[in-house]
Symmetry: C2
Subunit: 347 residues, 2 copies
Amino acid sequence: MSHYDKNLKKTVEDVARESGVSKSVAARALGDYGSVSDEARKRVLDVAKKVGYQPDQIARSLKTKRTHTIGVIISDITTYFFTSVVRGIADVASQSGYDLVLCNTDEDPGNENEYLKILVSKSVDGLIISLSGKNTYLKKLIRAGFPVVLLDRGVEGLETTQVVVDNESGAYEAVTHLIKLGHRRIAIIDGLANIQTSEERLKGYKRALQDNHIPLDPRLIKYGDFKMNKAKEVTKELLDMKNSPIALFVANEAMTIGALLTLKKENITIPEEIAIVGFDDPVWGPLLTPPLTAVRQPAYSMGTMTCQTLLQKINMHGRERIVFEELVLKPKLIIRQSCGEKLKEKI
Amino acid sequence: MSHYDKNLKKTVEDVARESGVSKSVAARALGDYGSVSDEARKRVLDVAKKVGYQPDQIARSLKTKRTHTIGVIISDITTYFFTSVVRGIADVASQSGYDLVLCNTDEDPGNENEYLKILVSKSVDGLIISLSGKNTYLKKLIRAGFPVVLLDRGVEGLETTQVVVDNESGAYEAVTHLIKLGHRRIAIIDGLANIQTSEERLKGYKRALQDNHIPLDPRLIKYGDFKMNKAKEVTKELLDMKNSPIALFVANEAMTIGALLTLKKENITIPEEIAIVGFDDPVWGPLLTPPLTAVRQPAYSMGTMTCQTLLQKINMHGRERIVFEELVLKPKLIIRQSCGEKLKEKI
DNA sequence: TTGTAAGCGTTATCAT
DNA sequence: ATGATAACGCTTACAA
């Protein structure tokens, strides 16, 4: 259990002793508050620098109830969208002297709940969370005035700020784009069922069909799990249908890769045989032949915004923090050529 | 400064009082050690569950000197390689009850040093770090027996465990592959100068040329910064040379995207006009036309391995921790068609 | 088995 | 301006 060589770890008391003042004078000098003679201050600060004094944040936190750490709970840092978001969060956090502890739930509400408790018991100052399920503990926390901001996925009835993207309109735009180009048998490969973003994207898909008087074919609605492999399978199923679709709307980056991979494997040409539009606009999109048309989410900005909002909340007092506010960012359709666009429409 | 509603936060003392025993009995019951009568234990545990007692980890850490948190310092979570590595780290950490605090340095030794100090002052139990520069503070820490594992980039003279990939042989293999296919004017777009991985990859490049009696042309050696944009520029420079190269070896994923993007923009066909092989084998590699030949690093395993090693170190005692050990993983060349491979070589 | 009390390294109050 | 002292919530040695 022995930690590392304690000779390196100096306490205020050490510094005080070496500079010949009392602990409290040293503490005040180091903390830059209260009154200390210039004389004493100088001595203390000099000694502190000499011995490389670093205040013990654990002890400090026990006293101040602030850790300058924020908890981030997401499904998977590995997904394109979240890595950008997290980078955004990290950047503004860091600027304000906060650190991040990162947790991956893999969409498991059990993990989610456990991490939530751990982070609270570790006294993070606030929480950013992308929820996979209902969570009564979280609700309690929020009610009690704990600073939390919901990321990417809002939840009805949770009285807290949430930063989300307008998934429905993103999906609507994508599918409408397909329809305008003449496609009718359009399938959706959606994310995990019952996840808010999935349901909203599906809603957008349905509304686009409806507005264009295209009857809904339930067989063209497939749920994936946001991961590549499942999307491969699902795409194969779609291809094997008697009336296979002629256009695909895929609900995130990983699944788009999966879909493209099986299209390639089956030697389906894009966009002639099947058109495709993805949610998430990855950097490699323009490299494909044809370049990928996709709905771009402002992931990095969502991260910075979420963190700024959280930081504000942290600096408010208890009750004020219980406000419901929904920040909705607009996604943007980036038109390239994977849907059979005429060249003049190329961007 | 007021935190959230304290009614939710129960202490051992609260639990003790409510169950009619002393603080220490309650503590022992909750901590499951020492001796407590079954009678008392039951009462305490029941009360604890009823009021939702969660031990305050900060207070506990102050006493035990353990935080069950490990610090991870990398250049940028956004780079393909590191997101996989971090996921690996996170998974084994989580399994052992550890959390991660994540720091992005953007290759700035200043940031690196600052994060190092912050993490130590926050009493992380151990450190995983991918170094961008020399760091005397880190050296001191290691000497003092602080648990650290160097990730991806080793450093001469640091007496600690490091988990790295054999960059030289990876590069050697990639360039040799190019040569075998008949290429002679081969350029390298390397990472940031003076970063160990960059230098090793360059070494592999040079050795491959040498072994094949191809004279080294210094103008074909370009340093990038591991980022896409710089790689775009550099690629353009290469194309604008009088004797422009006919093959490219690019030292990481982001730069490969950059290179491919300018090749596309300039309407250069691959592999006929320019062949390309990348370091890092991203999921989208197979989707390109032609599919990308690339050196695959076992990123996720590097993460798990690194974290396992660190955890072991953490559980050793002071002095034992000061051992130098180098775990070198082999990268693997994944041959597809971006170098002009004959089809039977396709994999 | 139980309880008392000290201690972790800060911050902060209150006499001096 | 200074220094003794309590407090944060936990662990744990020791006494009862």
